[in-house]
Each structure stands twice: as C-alpha cells, then as structure tokens.
C-alpha cells in the first residue's frame, strides 16, 4: 500500500494552509470553492484554530484582515462573484499592509455565469480588481499536490511582504482528485508577527529603514498601541494630507513587490531547453498542455511548456530569457485572452503570439492544442 491519499484540490488548499500556520478562516459559501470553507470548518477546531461563516464576502475579507491585525494567519476562499465583492478590502489590505491569503477558485463568468464550470477569467481581476495603484502577488497551482505546497508559499509571501496574496485556483484543480503524498511540513514557515517595530524614528508602526521595503508588524494587544488606516498615512500610521508622503508610500508598496520580483516569481518549464515553440499557460490548463507537449514531442516537434506559477507579477524575465530560441509562442488559457495581454506586453509587439482560449465553460483538450499547433505550423510555413 502506498502512503498517498486521495485528495481534492480544495482539500489540499486547506491542508497546505494549515501546514503554513493558518488558524483563522472566514468565508461565505460559493461554488466551486465551498469545500475549502467546509474543510476549514472541520480542520481548524482540531488544531485550535477558528472558523466563522460570515454574512457575505464583504464581511469575510474584513474579518480576515481584522484577525490578521490581531495576530492570526488568516485566509478566505471564494469564487468570481464573491471575489468581486472582496475587492475594496483587498486594496485596504494592500494599503494597510495586512498579510492574508485570498483563494479564488475561478468559475465561468461574467456575473453568475456557469457556477460549476471551469474558467480562468479572473486573471486580470486578480491584478486590477481593486481601485488605485497597488501591489499584487498571485500564485496559481496546476495540480492537487502543487496546491498544497504552493499555498504554503502564498502564506510565506504574504508574511514576508506584508500584503494580501491571491491564490488563483480554477475549478479544474479545485475539484480534481489525485493521489498525493503530502510532503513533511516545511520548517521554512515565515511568521513575521513576533517582531517589534523597526528601531529608529521612535519605533513608529510603519517606519521602514532606508533600503528596505517592509515595516515590521506587531499584532494588536501586544503592548504597542498604534493606528491602522486605509488612508494615505505616514510612518506613524496616521492619515496624512501630504502628497509627498502619500506618493512615497504608494511607491514603496509597489516597489516592495516589483523590486523583489526575482524572489517572488516562479515558473515551471517543461522541455524548454531546445524548444522552438513555447506553449504558455497557467493553473489547471497546464494539464492539457502537458499532454499536448508530450504528444508533440513524440511526433518530433520541438515544443515546450512555459508555465508561470507566480502569475502576478508576471515572470517576464524568465520568459524573455527564452525568446532568442523561440520561433513561435502559443498562449492557452480558459478566457478570452487575459494573460495573453501581459504576455504580448512582455515579448514586445514585433513578436506574434498565437492564442487558444475558451469562454464557454468547457475544458480545452490536448487535441485542441495539437490542432492549434498544426494550424500555426501551416500558417508559419505559408509565411
């Protein structure tokens, strides 16, 4: 008998989060993410944690931010409609620098859409859903096992950079079951909430020493009174009307992610070393892409897969490193071309990017991708 257990992606998200130290979950039921709330309701009391079902998603994200400010690693899980409702407070979390993890198990939209069907139409929303310029880290798993390990990383990045991290799942991975051998819990679990404030500047709550990006975080109720606000604020954490201070603050928030992109971005590459064609994809779409790449390789075609694991910020450096060897690029995603926009921006307008997408709630198959690759070959030859 093997050590593996049969697990659903949504269950793996719960187990990984708990391994990462998540002890607070607030949420509202929504297909196809509900198993994450259900799993948290079962598991959290077993580890001394707390689960609460709130009255809506607005309240869920607010409670998560409150619990995080009070010292607990906190998470919520939702799908498109609920993710839309959470946007205002995701921006609050970014501005007030409150770490948390927001799981969005994407389903087919817009609006209520097809509640039980897979899609990846929230990619741009994950980046630009809340108003104003703000930093975003978003990760997207493509298997049940990766869901477990990657959500641990999501918590670590949230702690390290003091910012909400979006865990962008899709129905394909959320509802898929696979046998997984859960790795031993990593001892590399980051928890910044034991620190006192940075020295200097009278130990102000949001003081950041020169050359660093992230203020130290101390939870409420542990001896140092301070103020948290979503207003533009100075190092003391109090609102300011100074445009100079406001500009510096937002600049630092953006810089802390952009300038640390090497630390934050991860990609998975398969058969890319000699690839002349790269198939770019993320999340559950990678399953069909891998099948297609293997099939194309068997037919002697130099095709590889390039999969951003960190989907925001987009891993453009890793992609651009591959550009000299590539003759063609195909973007495959379950939407109308969202990562496509980011990909085209990264590679520049003189390099054509082919696209295969789907917006009807059905899954792109390996055959679809192989057909697209053949079509590309035919047109490229014609040119």
């Amino acid at each position: 008998m093997s050590e593996a257990v049969l697990m659903q992606g949504n269950e793996a998200a719960v187990e990984g989060a708990i391994a990462a130290g998540m002890r607070f979950f607030a949420g509202y039921p929504i297909t196809p993410s509900t198993e994450i709330a259900e799993g948290s309701a079962v598991r959290l009391p077993q580890v001394g944690g707390k689960f609460i079902q709130m009255e809506d998603e607005l309240a869920s994200i607010a409670a998560v931010l409150g619990a995080s400010a009070a010292g607990m690693k906190a998470m919520t899980a939702t799908s498109g409609p609920g993710f839309s409702l959470m946007q205002e407070n995701i921006g609050y979390g970014a501005m007030a620098e409150i770490p948390c993890v927001i799981v969005d198990v994407q389903r087919a939209g817009p609006s209520t859409g097809l509640a039980t069907s897979p899609a990846q139409g929230d990619y741009m929303q994950a980046r630009w859903g809340t108003h104003g310029d703000h930093p975003v880290i978003a990760l997207s798993p493509s298997s049940v096992r990766e869901t477990y390990t990657l959500i641990i990383r999501a918590f670590n990045l949230a702690e390290k950079y003091r910012t909400p991290v979006i865990f962008l799942m899709d129905e394909i991975v959320g509802h898929m079951r696979e046998g997984v051998e859960l790795p031993k819990p990593s001892d590399l679990i980051i928890n910044r909430r034991k620190m006192s404030f940075h020295d200097g500047a009278n130990k102000q709550a949001y003081y950041v020493p020169e050359g660093r990006y992230v203020p130290a975080m101390k939870p409420f109720g542990q001896g140092e009174r301070y103020n948290i606000t979503g207003n533009a604020h100075d190092a003391s954490g109090f609102p300011t009307n100074s445009h100079e201070i406001a500009g510096r603050l937002v600049g630092r928030l953006l810089d802390k992610v952009e300038r640390n992109a090497d630390d934050i971005t991860r990609v998975e590459e398969y058969a890319m070393d000699d690839a002349e064609t790269a198939v770019v994809c993320f999340g559950g779409t990678a399953r069909a892409v891998m099948s297609a790449v293997l099939e194309a390789r068997r037919a002697g075609k130099k095709v590889g897969m390039f999969r951003p694991v960190t989907v925001w910020p987009f891993p453009e450096k890793q992609l651009c490193r591959r550009l000299p060897q590539l003759k063609s690029i195909l973007m495959v995603e379950h939407n109308h071309g969202q990562m496509l926009l980011e990909l085209r921006r990264a590679v520049g307008r003189d390099r054509p990017v082919h696209f295969l997408g789907r917006i009807d709630g059905t899954v792109i198959s390996p055959q679809d991708i192989l057909a697209k690759l053949e079509e590309m070959e035919a047109t490229d030859d014609a040119e």
């Binding site: 607005l58 409150g66 001896g223 009174r225 109090f238």
Partner: protein, 281 residues
Amino acid sequence: MPSDLIHQYMRIDHLPQMWCPGCGNGVIMRDVAVAIQELIEDPDLHFNREDFVIVSGIGCSSRAAGYLDFNSIHTTHGRAIAFATGIKFANPKLHVIVLTGDGDCSAIGGNHLIHAARRNMGLTVIAFNNNIYGMTGGQYSPTTPNGERATTAPYGNVDRPFDIANLATGAGASFSARGDVFHARETIDIIKQAIQHKGFSLVDVYSVCPTYYGRKNRKGDAVDMLKWQRENLIPTARYYSMPEGERAGKKLIGILSINDYPEYTEEYAKVVDAVRKKGKG
C-alpha cells in the same frame, strides 16, 4: 479632569479634532474615553488599557478612532463591525469597541450590524447617530426622519427611518441602549455597562449636526439642538415615572434590552475543546 483625560487617553498631536463647531461627536468621543478611563481605574475591575481596540469605519464618527490613544483601526465604509468580528474572534481577551455612524452601521453596514447582533460576539458598537451623512455634505441617511430635508432630499425625505437601537434589539442583540450628547453622565454609564456586557452590545448615541442636518431643517444652532435633546430624550428613571400620555414623541435614554445569551467566542471555545478532547480520546 478633562485635560487629564486628554493627556492620558487622546493622541494630543492629532488634536484639535476635525469636526465642525457645535458637532456632537466630540462629546460622544469624550464619553467613550471617560467610560474606558473609569473602567481601567476601577480597582475592582480588571481592565487593561492595552486590551482595548477601537475600530471605526468611514464617516465623521469614524475619525474618532484616530484621536483615541489605544490600538485603533480605521477601516472601510460599512465594514467596521466585520473587521471587529475578526479581531475579537482571533483574540477574545481584547475589548473591541466599534465607533461608527448611522450611515456606516445601518445603511452600507446594516447587514453586518444585524448579523453581529444575532451572533452575539462580545463587541461594543457605539453609533454616533446624527441623522445625516456629514462627511459627504448632508445627504439623507437611514435615520433621517421622514419629511426632513437633506441635499439628496431637497423636497423632504420620502424614506421612513430606522431606530438603530430597536433594530439591534429586533436582530437579537443581547444588549441594546440609547444615549445622547446632552445626557453625558447617563451616556457614560450606559457605555460602561455596554463594555462590561458579555456579548454583543450596541449604544445608539444621538449626536447633533448643526452644520448640515440642523441648518437644512431649521433646527437652530448646536445649543438649540441640545435643548431639543433635553426636552425630548428622557433618562430611564424619569421616563418610566412620566404619565404615559406625556411620553408621546419622546424617547428613552437608557437600556432598551439586556439578555444573558451565550457569547460567541466562548461557545466556539467549547466546540474547540470538545473536538480536541475527542481527537485525543
């Protein structure tokens, strides 16, 4: 005493506060500070200053969180009670006090108010109720009386108003009370009881907004508005000794309902204990 209070419990470098001359919010903020001070200084009680967290939403009222020298969090419009729920549940030893307004807690945040009342988690909500949206310049709120004027009710308000204290009672709040600006001592005592109450507590404190609500509706200046409170808002003992006929049009200042319902974080802790015992057994 007042200056002592300011030095001890307010953030001097952030004063003077931003409210208009004659606004009732400063008085209510002082009532809250005095109530907390008296609880902390009472040797028979064991209130620790570091355990207080002040949570506010958006609006005139919500600026109070920044002036009070405690752990404070100024959140988003309507969501203060939901943030507070997360804070209290994460660390139940904290005394979590929500400072909110009539718009913040009964319009955009109305859903959170009724569910917090139902859930009975030990939060204290102080509603600074001035019958108007002040921060945005005088639009009608859910507590603007029917027929009165606001910038968005130029011909008189068609809506019927909420009575926030009754709303909380109706939603199952285990403690619901009403206070006002004029009866400061009574209001301080009510707030003290609310904070000591185990479970959800709400105090609907009638503020005055001479700048918008008063001016739009010919209520006179702040003094005239406080006189109205003196005549029409009646503390408990006097209210119940009045002949019933005289109570018409007047409102009670005091506790409207108080019940000993199980408190949420305590009930959840029991669940956790039971689950963990079972897990070990």
